[in-house]
């Protein structure tokens, strides 16, 4: 059963067209990667889904056409976006960040339980619950960003460059926690990642973008083996 389906999606920032017909689909509970060089349109594809860029084409989610909706409307349908640069709310405490994540939920008791789950998932955050997000290290902020997205109990998580700027060991820890999250919650994921090894540790299938178009789609196993892909897009 397909959860998200993009059909020939285009997108532009003002006069600058960035997506030139991207198609992909994410099955329920599945995990799909978007690969490609800088400027290929990976981040823009995520932004097209969450409604932060003007788009054309067709975007269906959970049986609904969601193209043209505002970001908060998209979020309300069950898509949580962890943006590039993390997007933590720097002046708010860690706990408050998580509570903001649960803004749309009405089940107060379950929210408290989910905060505990997040802190279990990311133990580093445990003794920093009261401190402001801006005071966290980059790795902790990334964990908080993922935690905040999880707090919305989404059907689909959009994950943008979660390893960016992190020390390799930190990045690995973040991805391990996300993998655990996926296994335990069954949330579907659409993952943009520069680091191929990290990406393939999380996704079942992936699509490769080049100047705003899909050029290749396949399972992780297939793509991993293709040397020229590796050289051209994944930087080794």
């Amino acid at each position: 059963m397909t959860l998200l389906e993009l059909t020939v999606v285009t997108a532009s920032y003002g006069p600058l067209q960035v997506l030139d017909g991207v198609s992909l689909s994410v099955p329920e509970g599945g995990s799909v990667g978007i690969l490609g060089a800088n400027g290929a349109g990976k981040t823009t594809t995520l932004r097209a889904i969450s409604g932060t860029v003007r788009t054309g084409g067709r975007i269906r989610f959970d049986g609904r056409d969601i193209r043209g909706l505002r970001p908060d409307q998209v979020a309300a349908l069950g898509i949580a976006h962890v943006p590039e640069g993390r997007g933590t709310l720097g002046q708010l405490s860690v706990r408050e960040n998580l509570l903001v994540g649960a803004y749309l939920r009405k089940d107060r008791k379950a929210v408290a339980g989910d905060i505990d789950y997040c802190l279990d998932l990311f133990p580093q955050l445990q003794d920093r619950v009261g401190s402001r997000a801006a005071a966290l290290s980059g790795g902790e902020q990334q964990m908080l960003a993922v935690g905040r997205a999880f707090m919305a109990k989404p059907k689909l998580l959009l994950l943008d460059e979660a390893s960016l700027g992190l020390a390799p060991s930190t990045a690995k820890a973040v991805y391990e926690a996300i993998r655990r999250l996926r296994l335990e919650s069954g949330i579907a994921m659409l993952v943009v990642e520069q680091n191929a090894n990290l990406a393939f540790s999380l996704v079942d299938t992936a699509t490769v973008l080049e100047t705003g178009r899909n050029v290749l789609t396949g399972s992780s196993a297939e793509l991993k083996g293709m040397d020229e892909i590796r050289r051209a897009y994944l930087g080794g």
């Binding site: 969450s50 932060t52 505002r70 970001p71 908060d72 979020a75 309300a76 949580a80 976006h81 962890v82 943006p83 997007g87 933590t88 709310l89 720097g90 002046q91 708010l92 408050e96 509570l99 903001v100 994540g101 803004y103 749309l104 402001r132 801006a134 905040r148 997205a149 707090m151 919305a152």
Partner: protein, 293 residues
């Protein structure tokens, strides 16, 4: 000694005027990340609206309530149709837009009601009571109490309610807040509406003392800004404490340090800011903030 206490009490009363406006500035800053120079002008407009309804024969309290409701709508509309366009651009431009708004709103008040001082009725009597040998009017006392109540309500709103959390989240990073499903536009409108409401209350509280003119709060705005910076942009309690401290210190310095005197006492809050910011860059009570002045 009697004079000293009287000066302190007088200073607190004056400080409460600054505090009223400062609270509205804090609210709009917490809710949108901006400093709104038009806050005073909008508060004056609200006071005029209440004045009109009083002139029409309505009871004062009802007139104030109507004005407060209208002010909420006005604030929300200003955000939606004026500030919305500038919120994501250069913050300097947005601040200048609030300056333009101040000019326009002041001008509208002047066109509709002229520049003459209008007597505004007070909710509280002018009779005076004695505290520690100092005399203070019930009006000043009630004003101060109202300010403290508002301060507590604001503090609770920001720190204990979901709406407060959402307002702060939107001010912090609107794009990111939207990813969690927060209706950014509506929350910004609510933030401006609430700030205008608070401004309206501030306006009707101080109008009996200052008498209504379009520029009624021009000087108070400068003091309120000083109080907001001193107290920390994120803290209602901080700005009320700072406003009171400014009011009191100003009086004491003017009287007991003749070299400064009444003419240069306005330098006191700024000297204070200077010293405090060297010690605590985030203000007395504030948390460290990246300010978008």
């Amino acid at each position: 000694m009697g004079t000293f206490i009287q000066l302190v009490v007088d200073g607190l009363a004056t400080g409460s005027i600054y505090a009223a406006l400062a609270l509205a500035i804090v609210l709009v800053n917490q809710a949108t990340g901006l400093i709104n120079f038009a806050q005073g002008g909008m508060a004056v407009l609200s006071a005029y609206i209440a004045y009109v309804f009083v002139q029409l024969g309505l009871p004062l309290l009802l007139a104030i309530i109507i004005s407060v409701v209208l002010s909420f709508l006005f604030g929300a509309l200003v955000e939606r149709f004026l500030l919305r366009r500038f919120e994501r651009g250069d913050p300097d431009t947005a601040v200048v837009v609030t300056i333009g708004l101040l000019t326009l709103v002041t001008g509208i008040s002047a066109v509709l009601w002229g520049y003459n001082n209008l007597a505004f009725p007070s909710l509280f009597p002018l009779t005076s009571v004695e505290i520690l040998g100092a005399v203070v009017s019930v009006r000043s006392l009630a004003t101060a109490v109202t300010i403290v109540v508002i301060m507590v309500v604001l503090q609770l709103l920001f720190l204990r309610t979901k709406l407060g959390l959402a307002l702060r989240a939107v001010a912090d990073n609107p794009a990111s807040a939207a990813f969690s499903g927060l209706p950014v536009g509506r929350l910004l409108m609510v933030g401006w509406g609430l700030a205008a409401t608070l401004g309206a209350i501030a306006g009707v509280l101080v109008a009996p003392q200052l008498t209504l003119t379009p520029g009624m709060l021009d000087t108070a705005l400068v003091y309120a800004l000083a109080a907001v910076i001193l107290g920390g942009l994120s803290s209602p309690i901080g700005c009320v404490v700072a406003a009171s401290a400014i009011g009191v210190l100003e009086n004491l310095v003017a009287v007991y340090i003749p070299l400064i005197g009444h003419d240069l006492k306005i330098a006191v809050p700024f000297a204070l800011i200077f010293v405090i910011l060297i010690i605590r860059p985030q203000g007395l009570f504030g948390r460290k903030v990246v300010v978008r002045v």
